[in-house]
Symmetry: C2
Subunit: 120 residues, 2 copies
């Protein structure tokens, strides 16, 4: 996942936050099943272009989650008449999501404590 660079279009933006991708994907699928390409666009749009998920990151992540039983996939024909692989979250994935969100929040809490100016 990269923060989308606003000025230059081609320069490689450094990455941050491995692990967050999985959470965002699981949370999104928790709301509604979706195919990969749609996930890319969904995340970009909902983040108001702050984030851009590379397909080269997303698909391997989906494979990992499939293998781990966190999501399941089904080939369908989309309304736009294309073969799409639609992913949905499994009960195991939902449980995992809860855990990861909680870990995520604790981590953020910890970081913000460290970054907060010391109180006299």
């Amino acid at each position: 996942m990269t923060p989308k660079s606003k000025s230059s279009s081609h320069s490689a933006a450094r990455d941050l936050f491995p692990g967050a991708l999985e959470i965002m994907v699981l949370q999104t699928l928790h709301w509604q099943p979706m195919h990969g390409y749609a996930l890319v666009q969904h995340i970009q749009q909902r983040s108001r272009d702050l984030l851009q998920v590379e397909e080269g990151s997303l698909y391997p992540a989906l494979q990992r989650m499939l293998k781990a039983g966190l999501v399941e996939a089904e080939w369908k024909i989309s309304p736009t008449n294309r073969r799409v692989r639609t992913y949905s979250i499994t009960p195991k994935g939902a449980k995992h999501l809860e855990l990861e969100v909680s870990r995520f929040e604790q981590m953020l809490e910890g970081i913000s404590l460290v970054l907060a100016p010391a109180k006299g």
Copy 2:
């Protein structure tokens, strides 16, 4: 950096947030120069045990930052009569910190937008 596991003491906690370590170190050094071992304890204490920085992560990170000119180091004798390598932030490091914090915040903003429930 690992979230400190509260129940089991030995199991490996998964990592999150590569990149955050650098920010926390630079911000801490921005407040006051400090040696490595002290940074480990500082971060753990200020995060109220939510985070635990492994020395095997910290020292390589400090080396990277040294090499990149973000911090500089000096050998001293501590009040406890030990040879310590005290790190301080450079002007370049301070500039870098600002950038990284801003990137960090944008990333968080993006993630929270994606994770926030859709509005009807």
